[in-house]
Amino acid sequence: MALPERFQVSRNTLLVDRAMNRTIRFGGAAVIVAVSGILLFVVLQILPLFRGARLTPALVFPATNLSNSPARLLGADEWMEAPFVVDDAGIFHFYHLSYAETNGKTYPALDRLESVRPDVFPPGETPTAFAYDQERQEIALGGPGGRFAILELGYAADFSSERRAVRQGLRTALRSTLGKPGAALSAVAFGGDGDRKLAAAIQPWPSGPELYIRSFVKSRSLEGEAALLAGTEHELTTNLPSPPVRLLVKKQADGLLAILADGSVAYLAVDDEGATLRQIFTPFEDLPEKRVGNAEFIFGDVSVSFVSAAGEHRVFSLYARADRDNLRLFGRTKSFAALSGAAGWSAHGIRNKTLLLGEGRKAALCYTTTESVRWRGELPVATLRGILGGKNDKALFLGADRNLHLYDLEDRHPEVSWTAFFGKVWYEGSAEPKYEWQSTGGTDDFEPKLSLVPLILGTLKGTFYALLFAVPLGLLAALYTSQFLSPGLKGYVKPVMELSASLPSVVLGFIAALILAPLVENRVPSILLILIFTPAAAIAFGALWARQPARSRARIPAGWEFAAFAPVFLAAVAAAWLLGPPMERLLFTVADPATGARVADFKLWFTHATGLPFEQRNSLVVGFIMGFAVMPILFTIAEDALSNVPDSMRSGALALGASRWQTAIHVVLPTAAAGLFSAVMVAFGRAVGETMIVVMATGNTPVLDFNLFNGMRTLSANIAVELPEAPEGGTLYRTLFFGALVLFAMTFVLNTLAEILRQRLREKYKNV
């Protein structure tokens, strides 16, 4: 259909139109995709948290020189650059590995092998007992005649040649004896730092094995050289109900555990005086197979893992036992899924509470804090020993095939699990499982406590008190404004309320914390009175007014009641403020423990009466100010919903003789109910996400109660406080992202609900 040229659209216009069409379609869609990309990004940041541990084979190399003698120890340095095996003859075989990096991946290779025989014992004598402390890189050797020595293993990086090389050095830290001469030691254990060490050994005699301990304390000789000097030796066998088999010494050098032949475990506390038997317990008391197959301290030496001869796996921790006069004793805190048999060997990580266990071809990587098995699987060969790299990024196994198997281990966030986030976790030193948030601590062996429950509860607590305040006030104000207020005034009232919706929350937080909190602290009774007086005054005044003859009532035009009420309101507030202290003297008195006199102090009374703490920056203040922060938005939405109820309905009700209050309550309110509910939802969402007020006006302590007079820590405040300090990509960083996602989800669900309700309402009005 050919148009005359003058009717044809110019080519230029068409081109521009088409170009803009595309640009806007693309741009608009891109903005929407980008905005929803937020959610995707946050989720992507969180996903690594829930990834289990992964072991990937990296290198297999022969444990040459190991001949046929069994390996007694397997050890590794921090970077897994020079792992070593100690054989039966006491010879250290170091396997120097190098890591070539290509395309971001590292490829390990065996460089060279060095064998060292430390000359700690007289020629011809070989060690008979071995112990290894990976954290301090120390090795204890026990030998014939009760000889005992501790070797220090040092690693130094050497840059003299082209490539970085690691050189090891073995140094004898101390030589001593344990037990009586004449028999070789069958087991040794040691613990402690450079200033104080505790060593223990078992010496087999025909009469039965005997247990000896000896402390070493650093002291300076006259030349100023510091050395560990041996203290008195103690023989402890008489204390024990059954012969000792295996020993574990705490790294604090203040106690040891002796695993006994009958499956019981003796906990002995050691001080300068000697050792005292604190506790005898049987880890697998309730099972037919009571014998302990494997025992290993968890990093920090507060918890110990036991595997029974039948493969049951349990963890015992030192904590103040309520059932034992609050003594710090071992009690069972965790159990893991049973292994198939007694663990042949075990090793613990020196970064966190990881534990590596092996039996035959099976191996398992456990994280004890959260009671989770991070990895479990079969290795290609049966393993004799295993060890974790110092950074928990490598694992090395000595196989029955006389090969060493190096694995890359990836387990960046072992602390995290659903249980850790939402369940009770039994942390070390605590008397019971708890919900707790404490992300950082002062010591290396600190367990991050990442329960989100106190934060979510804190969020709900703040929101609850805020809504308790905002919902009645906001709804009443909306009802009054939409139904009773004179239309002329409405034009001023609404913008004022809307303006207050935009007050920056940092301002409200400042007001709450620095002005309101000190004011309220000493005037709680007055505040309580205000809460009673003002509504009472409103109703009483209203009732009184309604009784007056119409002539005098006409003096206040309808729609101006609130203005007439304002002075009454202020008077009620003032009266309550002044009457607070007398009421405090009347009702809230406690006996002063010093003088016995009655002291009127609500704070003391509250703590006394309920046993709950009273803080200056408490939920009352936060609830009030946060309520104030969310009330305007609640008011605006509710007022809109009420105002939009079709006039025909109101007129109908009024025409049928209903009073204006009856119309408002029985006709308007039910019609707009969905809108009011949506207003509450939106306010709820706002209060949930409010950050600065909570950061400023509470103590930010994670709590689990709904006490009005202490603070809380909310999800949002937690992010604001901790995220600036959280290292990128770390567990805390990702956990805070998870918190943000929870927050996002909470508000998104609430807002969607509110929005859908509002749309429904709109449909409904359309049909009226």
């Binding site: 068409l14 139109d17 069409n21 806007i24 741009g27 608009g28 903005v31 929407i32 905005v35 937020i38 946050v42 940041q45 009645p472 006030l473 009443l476 104000a477 009054y480 004179s486 004022v496 303006l499 007050l503 920056p504 929350s505 940092v506 301002v507 400042f510 007001i511 509504p535 409103a538 109703i539 209203g542 007014w545 309604a546 309808a558 729609g559 304002a566 309101f569 202020l570 002063d592 006199a597 009655r598 104030f628 008011f635 006039d647 204006r660 969402g685 996400g689 950050t691 600065m692 400023m696 949002s716 992010i719 995220l723 600036p724 927050l743 996002f744 508000t747 998104f748 609430l750 749309q759």
Partner: protein, 552 residues
């Protein structure tokens, strides 16, 4: 709702109407009360307060170091809660600002009202604002000049001489600042960039001549630096050694170097007009000055500037995207359940907590984008990050993301309000779709879009929580815009009024001394936000009226 029937006698529920009125009264009382408190306290900071001389009763130990009297500004009187005997009425105590922190170790003094024998407002007391240690309060005794001459305060020319000395020193400080900050700063920046160039050359060695050339330039800049610092030393050498001798309220004398004095005035001798003049001048200098003494004194200019630049950048980022998305949703997209879903989602994003945007901004903008930028373009400066840490750009983008739903929603509303007839008229005249939108729809919707932008700006200017994560600092050494190339430094950290309030009120070592400053900043921020919002509301109302009367 247009008219209310008058309440008939005995109409049920009248009392409850009053009860409903309670909600409105409380809400309004709180809003107005809060604004009143902030305005009163915020403006009160600048009003010159009278200085009281308090004489204590004979033998009272309430004074500073047991002194029988003190000079101070009355901050408040309150009931003393601590240490009273049970059953006794609470004693009243005074809180007085004494200043002279260098002498007294603190600036506030509390004492029981019962200890006071008398108090008066002596004439001649001066308040001396200093660069360090906060203000000094005392009676000026004399001006000990450089040449050893002593000019007693009774001399007729004393006031004039003192003012001259102070303004001379102020000019000196300005000179010094210009040399140290601007000129030496520029040279330093040049040396730094040359060093980076040298470092880059070292990594892939090639042209030795080039390296020598750079070295030569560095040396030249170094010489320039030496010359400038010599000049700075010379200016510093001109600093006057003159001292103002004050007789403090506690009896002793204190010397204040004139070079340390920012300003001095005698509040007790001022009349209302003088006080008003001083009040206005104080507000002015608060707005244009830099902060002193860990932000507790001086002005807030860098914070105002930072807030302004950040909000501006945010608006630049949010406006095109928000408008394009809204035009797409309203004019181009097929109006089905998908668009409805998107609309609900966008609405909801406006309600997502700001801190969530902060988290995203840190993770995505700072670490992912900023980290990549650093690796690509600023590898020489690594490991110290350039864009891989919080900064102005990332803060603006984060807030833009946060406010984009606000702009989308209000633009969409404005577009929807343009009547169908107008569009159809344009189309019927032969305009293409884009021509209709550009020439008819957008101009009609412009006020609505502007409302959205203003609301977004108000929200952005008042928001603090996400900024704490993505780049705001308590004290930025440099402004984000200055005379050094490339003039706008998007990677720099910046100061912000909202964060200033948080930091002063909660992180400051002396929160009592910081309180006036917090109030002033709060008032400023509220004024800014309220002005923006009121503008938006007015604009919206005008728009509604215009649409209601039916344009065209």
């Amino acid at each position: 709702m247009s008219e209310h029937p008058p309440p008939s006698t005995g109409s049920p529920g009248e009392a409850w109407v009053w009860f409903a009125g309670l909600g409105l009264v409380t809400g309004l009382a709180m809003v107005l009360g809060l604004l009143a408190v902030i305005t009163w306290n915020g403006l009160g900071v600048f009003w010159p307060k009278d200085i009281l001389k308090v004489d204590f009763k004979e033998g009272s130990a309430a004074g500073i170091g047991g002194a029988p009297a003190l000079l101070g500004e009355l901050i408040k009187t309150q009931e003393r809660k601590m240490g009273q005997a049970p059953g006794q009425p609470l004693p009243m105590e005074w809180q007085v600002f004494t200043g002279n922190k260098d002498r007294y170790g603190q600036m506030f003094k509390y004492f029981d009202a019962a200890e006071i024998a008398s108090h008066s407002k002596p004439a001649g007391v001066a308040r001396v604002e200093r660069l360090e240690y906060g203000p000094a309060l005392g009676f000026p005794r004399s001006l000990n000049q450089d040449d050893g001459g002593v000019l007693p305060a009774t001399d007729a020319t004393f006031e004039k001489k003192l003012r001259e000395a102070i303004s001379g020193q102020r000019a000196l400080r300005r000179d010094l600042r210009r040399v140290e900050k601007n000129e030496i700063g520029a040279v330093n920046a040049r040396i730094e960039s040359l060093r980076l160039k040298a470092k880059r050359l070292e990594r892939n060695p090639g042209d030795p001549a080039k390296r020598a050339e750079i070295q030569r330039k560095i040396d030249a800049a170094q010489t320039e630096y030496e010359a400038l610092s010599a000049r700075a030393r010379e200016i510093r050498g001109r600093k006057s050694g003159a001292r103002l001798v004050l007789a403090l309220g506690t009896g002793e004398e204190s010397e204040v170097p004139v070079g340390q004095i920012v300003d001095t005035w005698r509040p007790n001798d001022m009349n209302a007009a003088q006080k008003t003049g001083h009040f206005l001048a104080a507000i002015g200098s608060y707005i244009v000055d830099e902060p002193r003494e860990a932000n507790t004194e001086g002005g807030v200019f860098p914070a105002i500037f930072g807030t302004f630049v950040m909000t501006l950048l945010m608006s630049l980022a949010v406006m095109p995207f928000g408008v394009v998305a809204a035009i797409y949703l309203r004019e181009y997209a097929h109006q089905g359940s998908f668009v409805r879903g998107v609309r609900i989602a966008v609405n909801n994003l406006a309600g997502v907590p700001s801190i969530v945007y902060g988290v995203f901004g840190l993770g995505f903008f700072v670490y992912v984008i900023g980290g990549s930028l650093d690796r690509l373009f600023f590898a020489d400066r690594l490991p110290s990050p350039t864009f891989g840490t919080g900064g102005l750009l990332w803060a603006a983008l984060t807030l833009a993301l946060m406010t984009v739903p606000v702009v989308i929603v209000s633009t969409e509303e404005a577009l929807a309000a343009v009547s169908r007839g107008v569009r159809e008229g344009a189309l019927a005249c032969g305009a293409s779709k884009w021509q209709t939108i550009r020439s008819v729809v957008l101009p009609a919707a412009a006020p609505g879009m502007l409302t959205g932008l203003i609301l977004a700006m108000a929200r952005g200017a008042g928001e603090v929580a996400p900024l704490m994560i993505v780049g705001v600092v308590k004290l930025a050494p440099e402004l984000p815009i200055d005379g050094l190339f490339p003039f706008i430094h998007l990677e720099r950290k910046f100061m912000h009024l909202g964060f200033h309030i948080y930091d002063l009120g909660f992180q400051s070592p002396d929160s009592e001394a910081a309180k006036p400053m917090v109030f002033a900043t709060t008032l400023l921020l509220i004024a800014l936000v309220v002005a923006l919002n009121a503008g938006a509301i007015l604009l919206r109302n005008r728009l509604r009226k215009k649409l209601a009367t039916g344009a065209f």
